[in-house]
Symmetry: C2
Subunit: 454 residues, 2 copies
């Protein structure tokens, strides 16, 4: 059995914790592991680590690899050169699996950023889905609605089919009256976006209903775990639901018996978290007085709140967001306003993951910018120079090797080193422990743009 | 004519903008000058700069001197060695004025942190007060109530007396029903805490009603502009209102015709600020969607708010506070909770004023702490050493002179310098421009406590 985890997705709905460059699936949200890591850990009970393929936009591959590595093994990641929605992503991933030795196995396709709580019940759904998929069906997991949600798509179940049902139809997000009818009807399920099928069956449906996608698979190249731009560019941007599920007559439904939440808003996060006696979810350095039914999240600084109810207040290093709980989807409006202003606060966190480790901008002002760098064991920043700035390093912990045209210098905690503008340099961590450095940049151009690589 | 500005007062009511070490009178709150500076500028139309004496706790004298210096001349500041409320502060200041050449002039005593808007109307009140004070009265300024405020003390006016009234009595903060009666009655005024009197008249009343204070004045010493601890310690902690005003039969009232606000809460700040079409006061980097009648204050980072009304949200470098507008006095409850936890966020800002300039902690972590220092023109940090840490400096702008036992080194922008643990050093700014330095501290004790001075 194989799994394809869809880990594209942008960062607007849980802003300011999520960012364009650090979307929801990469976040931990008060847990030890990220939603992506939780998804992989959940799957590992059924599927070997090496049989799990994560598909994502190339800009997230290094951070996703880092998170998968933290789980103990090298995870397979397939990079999309541009965003094309889930249809092309799934078809390309199926092609990649086939080229890398998959037989006509059963494959499970699932989002990377949903919460599924009850592992044993999930187990039962998977077993039922595999039984139907083995008989040539494409199985979707349906969640029995608990209330008339208007934010999800629905699936209408038809006649019984083995342990599940045939699917009558997929329907769009309904208005409230329609959602209430669906709830009363009893045959409607939320579409959880989890699908199980034989690889050949799904590819045959792509061939039948989406030749614009299917016909580009044969010539597709996968160099360094990345889909080639030319093949991918030709594909239409379309979801797997529209591309295949709503057209195929092979679709079956298996109920997902477990607790499920798409964590698609701050309110959804609030709902799944344990609450104190006042109905509050408090995380980080918080102080409250007469606060009820609220989510207060502090990443770094003190967040103090008095006499408010039903609010969400989220503090991150460079942005604070407050909104009414029941309108928490309007965070998107704030995100869009900031995006229109070209604010970096929708793009990046202050702490940014890199292939060699991560950095954090701690302060900046007229003519200077300070960063903290962490270089992971045995990683390096390769040879480069800056025209417009000098860099000044102080080693906080670990050992650094600085290479310039003048040779190699070793630095330990407390040592400092100045790199003048125009001087080629590389920085390496030769040790098994992390290397931490304070960097002070001084000059006219302090951005990542002023760099020449060798 | 002389003036005594009372600039004690703590930092709880406008937390997190105010702190113990940076109380309300030192804040600008969106203006170019602080409330203290505004008070001095307002007085300067009537009273020469050298006839204004500011009394404050010694821990604030250097910052107050810095703020007064910014107004162009050296302001006289009298430091209290401990807090004793306004009675001892006023009596000591009167004694100080007499010893420093004051004749039996008229003195005006006023808080440093109130807002008085209409200078011309203030002018009229002062003229009227001087007329009555010249005749031996102690004049208090009464503000005609606009609504039944329960947070202020009141003064009941009696029969007409020249341009003002005799005072029947001072009364405590009333409950709402009583405040409504006062408002309807028409003879009650808010007690603005501004008094005008001849120096000799006020001292005579201290002698008569408060010998515990008066009898300690004769032996009081004023070395380096600081009241001596032994004399001050003996005095009771009591307000000028209780000590003299409520007992004396010389009290007269003059209406303060100007707009007046004690700025005693975030709601009061909101009320005096210009508002946008949605009734919002937005300051700094803010983004809002469907927000009404709210005060959103960003000191540094982005503050984004959606779908909330009547809230106060204040962001500072190390603390974020949100509360309901009409309960904004409950900020004190948050402040007290943090104080009970010994949180530094009630004491200091990240940016801290020093006699030589100011510093800001920009980042800290395991074994390191980063600061930005600004050394003012011609100021210096005198010779000292640290046992437990090394310091690493990079000059951002200006020129630095570093003196160690090895001699003197001059540093310009982009130069760096390492001070190992145990090495004596001093840092000077020899220029007319500010010196800005990034400092990285590495070691076991990174606090201000690890210092030996020479």
């Amino acid at each position: 059995m194989k799994a394809i985890i869809l880990a594209g997705g942008c960062g607007s709905r849980l802003w300011p914790l999520s960012r364009d460059m650090y979307p929801k699936q990469l976040l931990s949200i008060g847990e030890d592991s990220s939603l992506l890591q939780q998804t992989v850990l959940r799957l590992q009970k059924y599927i070997g680590f090496n049989d799990i393929l994560t598909v994502t936009n190339v800009q997230h591959t290094s951070e996703i690899k880092r998170q998968l590595d933290m789980l103990g093994e090298n995870g397979a990641v397939l990079g999309e050169p541009l965003g094309k929605n889930t249809g092309p992503a799934v078809a390309s991933a199926l092609e990649y699996l086939q080229r890398n030795g998959a037989n006509d196995e059963i494959v499970m396709i699932l989002p990377s950023d949903h919460l599924i709580k009850d592992a044993e019940m999930f187990n039962r759904s998977i077993a039922e889905a595999c039984e139907l998929a083995g008989n040539g069906h494409i199985v979707t997991f349906g969640i029995k609605p608990g209330y008339p949600e208007t934010g999800y798509g629905y699936v209408k179940s038809g006649e019984a089919l083995g342990p599940g049902f045939k699917v009558d139809k997929f329907v769009e997000k309904p208005d409230l009256a329609t959602a209430e009818k669906y709830l009363a009807d009893g045959s409607y399920y939320w579409n959880g976006g989890i699908f199980v099928s034989r690889i050949s069956v799904l590819l045959a449906e792509f061939e039948r209903f989406m030749p614009e996608i299917f016909n580009n698979l044969n010539d597709m190249k996968f160099d360094n775990g990345q889909i080639d731009y030319r093949s991918y560019e030709k594909m239409p941007s379309i979801s797997i639901d529209y591309a295949v599920m709503e057209k195929s007559d092979r679709i079956a439904l298996v109920p997902l018996y477990s607790d499920w939440n798409d964590l698609g808003s701050w309110q959804a996060i609030y709902e799944v978290k344990p609450k104190d006696a006042d109905g509050n979810v408090l995380s980080g350095r918080t102080v409250v007085h007469n606060v009820k039914n609220s989510l207060i999240y502090s990443q770094k600084e003190i967040v103090a709140v008095a006499d408010l109810e039903n609010i969400v207040l989220v503090e991150t290093e460079d942005a604070i967001m407050a909104c009414r709980m029941e309108n928490s989807q309007n965070v998107k409006k704030l995100y869009e306003k900031l995006k229109a202003e070209n604010s970096s606060a929708v793009m990046l966190h202050k702490t940014v993951a890199r292939p060699w480790g991560y950095y954090s901008v701690t302060d900046s002002g007229d003519g200077y910018l300070n960063r903290t760098l962490c270089v992971l064991p045995h990683k390096k920043l390769s040879m480069h120079l800056h025209r417009q700035r000098s860099e000044h390093w102080v080693v906080l912990s670990g050992e650094a090797v600085v290479v310039t045209d003048n040779g190699e210098v070793r630095l330990n905690a407390g040592d400092s080193y100045d790199v003048p503008a125009g001087v080629k340099h590389s920085l390496q961590n030769p040790q098994e422990t992390e290397l931490k450095i304070i960097e002070v940049r001084i000059g006219k151009d302090l951005t990542e743009a002023d760099i020449e690589r060798f």
